[in-house]
């Protein structure tokens, strides 16, 4: 068990190292980070002095080492626009993003898992058909379009819900639904197919042949086994949600990391972009590590590998 855990931990560290390198390298995509960071009107002399000051003339690996050391201490430099440390700007907004992603995931799980189970148990019924169609539409819809349509309906026409900002629960509803739709659709389809597969297994038939009533059969045997791929998906979906929050936060003016990143890109504020990408990627890696550990409790066969 601990061998597995240590291996997973080391893997995560390697991945984080790779993440830090990619984030570092983004500035070098055009070849000269000084040109990227300075405004277009900067003179050749300004550029030269800037390069000296920032250490861009040092060997590549030395620069990466400096970046990595800084990143581990939470130092990504100061935001070009706001003057404050980039790291703090990002960390300030993490709770808002987590709140939004968490709410979206909660909605998705509460809707999708029952829908998927019902669809599988009552296969080919009207309910199954309906939820399959909705799931298909949900996976085909661009979320930002859904967000705009929801604003049109609930904020403009009906005036029930606010269309922007963060405040009480009413502000959370529309963005969370928008962000959560794709995930809901995905988990519904996966729950349905997972349950269908499990329900057709021999041990379910045996339980039924023994005369066990249907609900206990469904809940005890089927759900426990279908839970494994669902847990895996939740980990992956969190990545989708963190990414999707970029667009949703922009539409609803939700003060999270996603919106900050988009504004930083428009303002060419790259320290902030680097900090944001690094922190979000790190969060994702940690969550997946946690999911994998959880996995070993759900499926004991993994431990034996």
């Amino acid at each position: 068990m601990s061998i597995f855990l240590t291996r997973r931990l080391l893997q995560s560290l390697v991945v984080l190292l790779g993440v830090s390198f990619v984030v570092f390298f983004i500035l070098f995509l055009t070849g000269d980070p000084a040109l990227v960071l300075l405004p277009p009107e900067a003179s050749a002399e300004d550029i030269r002095q800037f390069r000296e000051r920032m250490g861009f003339n040092d060997p590549f690996l030395v620069q990466y080492g400096r970046f990595l050391a800084g990143a581990l201490q939470g130092n990504f430099g100061d935001s070009i626009r706001h003057g404050e440390p980039a790291f703090h700007l990002v960390v300030e907004r993490m709770p808002a993003t987590f709140q939004l992603s968490g709410a979206a995931l909660l909605i998705a799980l509460c809707l999708a898992i029952p829908a998927g189970i019902v669809s599988a148990v009552r296969r080919n019924s009207v309910l199954d058909y309906f939820s399959t169609v909705v799931a298909l539409l949900g996976q085909s819809m661009p979320t930002f379009w859904l967000g705009i349509m929801l604003i049109l309906l609930f904020s403009v026409q009906l005036q029930w819900l606010p269309s922007s900002g963060r405040g009480d629960l009413r502000h959370l509803v529309l963005p969370a639904i928008t962000l959560g739709l794709f995930t809901t659709a995905r988990i519904t389809r996966l729950t349905r197919s997972g349950m269908l597969e499990v329900l057709s297994q021999d041990y379910i038939r045996t339980a039924r042949a023994k005369g066990v009533n249907d609900p206990p059969v469904v809940w005890k045997h089927a759900l426990k086994n279908a839970a494994i791929p669902i847990v895996t998906i939740v980990g992956i979906e969190l990545g989708t949600l963190l990414g999707g929050s970029v667009i949703t936060e922009t539409i609803f003016a939700w003060p999270g990391v996603g919106r900050l990143s988009v504004q930083a890109i428009y303002n060419r504020d790259y320290p902030v972009v680097q900090a944001a990408v690094f922190l979000l990627a790190t969060t994702f890696v940690l969550v997946n590590l946690f999911v994998d550990v959880l996995y070993t409790y759900l499926d004991p066969r993994i431990r034996l590998r």
Partner: protein, 302 residues
């Protein structure tokens, strides 16, 4: 069967692959949803190809006197704006028709790039295993750790937005799903007798990969490619929505949504119709991809 001197007719010899194709098409045709998907995709494709002829107006031509007119509006020339006009007086339908081009172009090109990259990675990882597999899967983990949109906007922000840039960014970032499916298929294929026979006969690894393994991984790869194209189209529209895609005045569905968002309370048609275009296109591709998967290999966990 009558015989005249020397004119005995034999039943037509059908080549095995031709027969397979016919069976496949017939099976696919039986699924109405997949058929619907194919029809939708065909319509979108034809519209994109023939945009200049299909569109009733010029998509870039501005007419400030006709701005923000609702759907069905007739202008002074007697022509009808079926879906209305936008804030610069441009016909919405024409812009939607022309917007199909960047969407499908980016979709096809990015899928081609990531498909090839992922296929190569998957073949190498699955067939050789060991160290190669470890390294490639670690690279995949690193790729997947990034929220894609964030990485894309960071890179595009540095490189500057253009059609080539978004195709490359999306293409290079999406290889993992192809690699995974090809790797899985290659892993099981390398244990099969015909591969082992080829190895015993002295076939080089490269030759085995190309002649024996690759043709057999094409099926799952194709399903993934189809479904991925749907995803890429949505991503392209998201990037255009943020202003990081093909630049104005060239019409893109995402760009139209961004424009329409500003006028949502006064002119709902600006944002509604481009979004519907995306929805219908992606739905069609998804239905087709699902049908493809169910026809070729229902056990595929894709």
């Amino acid at each position: 069967m009558s015989t005249t001197a020397g004119a005995l007719t034999l039943p037509e010899e059908v080549h095995p692959t031709q027969r397979e194709w016919r069976v496949f098409v017939r099976r696919l045709g039986r699924r109405r949803t997949a058929l619907f998907g194919v029809v939708v995709v065909a319509i979108v494709l034809l519209t994109a190809l023939g945009a200049s002829w299909v569109a009733p107006f010029d998509p870039i031509e501005q007419d400030i006197g006709e701005r923000l007119k609702p759907p069905g509006w007739r202008d002074e020339g007697g022509r009808t704006h079926l879906l209305g006009t936008d804030h610069l007086g441009r016909d919405i339908l024409a812009r939607i028709v022309h917007g199909a081009r960047p969407a499908l172009l980016v979709g096809a090109a990015a899928v081609a790039i990531s498909g090839v990259l992922g296929m190569m990675a998957g073949l190498l990882a699955g067939y050789f295993g060991g160290r190669v597999d470890d390294v490639l899967m670690r690279l995949a983990d690193i790729q997947l750790a990034f929220p894609f949109i964030l990485l894309a906007i960071a890179v595009i922000g540095v490189l500057g937005p253009s059609l080539t840039t978004i195709i490359c960014v999306i293409g290079v970032s999406s290889w993992v799903v192809y690699a995974r499916i090809v790797r899985g298929a290659a892993l099981s294929l390398r244990e099969r007798e015909f591969v082992q026979a080829a190895q015993a006969l002295g076939g080089g690894d490269g030759r085995i990969l190309v002649r024996h393994i690759l043709p057999n991984v094409l099926t799952p790869w194709l399903v993934v490619a189809t479904l991925d194209m749907a995803r890429v189209i949505v991503i392209e529209s998201a990037l255009s929505f943020l202003g990081l895609g093909v630049q104005p005045p060239a019409p893109t569905w995402g760009g139209m949504l961004a424009d329409g968002r500003v006028y949502i309370s006064t002119a709902w048609w600006l944002a509604t119709f481009p979004g519907l275009a995306i929805l219908v296109t992606v739905l069609g591709i998804n239905l087709f991809g699902d049908g493809l998967r169910d026809t070729l290999d229902p056990r595929l966990k894709v």
